[in-house]
Symmetry: C2
Subunit: 328 residues, 2 copies
């Protein structure tokens, strides 16, 4: 019999905030990835066409972390028809020393939202120009809001441009960002978003490039976090070719699921091993060299981030006295 | 907010018993595997040499089942030094229609024990001689006891022979079996166990064959369930070559983790696709043809069994009014 800490989504939202501390713990995970000592198996992915669903399982063991998370992310895309969200899931935190279950984090994807946005902040911190006055986002969903909020922690821009496929979604997103950060946020065309921003984040499920090469300009950084499946692609392969630096979160994943897949299919970055974000964070690979550089970071989402945010959440919950305890 | 059913090990032991109903539900899972409509991704396996540990994640979606399980099985082999069991883990049962978490089964491996033994019963039912008077087991652990108990449900033998590497373990196992089933159970040499039994179950973590070809005799069945890793092997490859029929639970797994791996490495069953147990259960492949046949079944453990037993456990718990409910 051991105690297992259980936290539901409301409790987790109450004690885990997207702040610099969350960014730091995710940055620690990227730094650890660069050490070569992280154990991170390939994603277990189960496609369920019969029920229009899919399930992904991610995990990673990181030296120095007390626990490791196993995250289960189901996506069942007919759920909205019956009034349920498509995405759900939970994280299970195990002791890294004994393998015993320490916590069940019934977050319905909330912690994934936070750690995904936090990774965007890590990318912006290490790759974006030192001064960003305008940030832009392509996409109008939850991650559009959170990525901008996270980036603002490390690059305090005062203007945000938003484009989304649906105008009303873009307007709602801009209004939310403005209210949340207390800065100007307005809608724009995708082209204007990219041309006028020093930091651009792409957060769409696009399957054809939406960010065109012609729109690139010196002194900008792009974080592409939408592509996490073999069929997705947000950035024109020629834009990746044109950039001064391409960095990804995990090379083995990006080559299968990220922008790198489509880029290589188009003959870009074939036969080269671009650096991982962790190597840049750890100082093992160069990041931005010149203010005028164009840099791109391709994020597919790693189990290491899940272990980091789950560890962070349990610590925060304990400090806040949140959650309930059950006996195993 | 949805209700999630939580059951701990004690509650699960109280309502899930290794009986014919459990065998039937696992047999249903094998039958479904033969339909080709089960979605069962490869096992996610994480080796953690730094802490002398490993973690396996298994899952399967089976048409006709209300839920699918994701099972996490950590093994941390230094745990006994601090008074903890090496093996732990839990199953999470999701709705097969919405992907929402339905139940957390904090079984510490108990349900795995039951479904593994139940698979042995399915193998014995379809492959063992119709009449078994003596059953034998190599190994003296939990599965030695449970495999014999499960086999007795489908072949009511009246004598059991037990061999284990340690004599005291074999004696304790025989005494437990005798007390549990009310039949004669005694220790013997490995050779005598095999020579005198019509049904033999191997349950060891052996890395070199312990069951020798010379010991085989007409009219016997062997279920090998110990090997579940690439380095393990219980049955002499020549014995597999000599058998009239070799069957495995899942060909893709057996070729990597089961007796089939070592057999093929020794040149046996190379280039042939032996039948899976599900095909035999479904009547799509022949099982035993003659009373004098020697048959072998190689079990590595499948996610389909986990989904079956988790579904069974939730049904049993609901019927018994066991468990607690938490809000997601």
């Amino acid at each position: 019999m051991t105690d297992i800490f259980v936290l539901n989504e409301a409790q987790l939202r109450g004690c885990v905030t997207l702040n610099l501390a969350a960014v730091e713990v995710v940055e620690d995970a990227f730094r650890a990835l660069a050490s070569g000592k992280v154990v991170m198996p390939p994603i277990l992915s189960m496609d369920l066409p019969a029920v229009h669903g899919e399930v992904d399982v991610k995990t990673a063991w990181i030296p120095g972390f007390d626990g490791f998370a196993i995250k289960v992310s189901p996506g069942f895309f007919d759920n909205p028809k019956i009034g349920l969200p498509s995405l759900n899931g939970l994280m299970i935190l195990f002791s890294a020393r004994t393998g015993l279950v320490e916590a069940l984090l019934l977050d319905n994807g909330y912690l994934t939202d936070v750690r995904t946005a936090a990774a965007g902040a890590v990318a912006a911190r290490h790759l974006a120009p030192a001064t960003v006055t305008t940030a832009g986002v392509l996409g109008g969903g939850v991650q559009a809001r959170l990525q901008i909020e996270a980036a603002h922690l490390v690059r305090p821009f005062n203007r945000v441009l938003v484009w989304a496929r649906r105008d009303d979604a873009a307007a709602a997103c801009a209004a939310d960002i403005s209210a949340r950060l207390g800065i100007e946020a307005v809608t724009a065309t995708a082209e204007a978003v990219v041309r006028e921003s020093q930091l651009v984040i792409t957060t769409t499920p696009a399957r054809e490039p939406i960010l065109k090469t012609d729109w690139l300009h010196p002194g900008m950084h792009i974080t592409a976090m939408g592509s996490d499946q073999a069929g997705k692609c947000e950035i024109d392969p020629a834009a990746i070719d044109r950039a001064d630096l391409y960095v990804c979160d995990r090379l083995s994943q990006a080559a299968m699921l990220g922008e790198l897949r489509a880029a290589r299919a188009a003959g870009v970055l074939v036969g080269s091993d671009p650096p991982e974000l962790g190597a840049v964070v750890a100082g093992n690979a160069p990041g931005r060299r010149h203010a005028s550089d164009i840099t791109i970071c391709d994020l597919t989402g790693t189990g290491a981030q899940d272990t980091a945010i789950a560890t962070f959440a349990l610590r925060a919950a304990r400090a806040a006295g949140a959650g309930t305890v059950i006996q195993s």
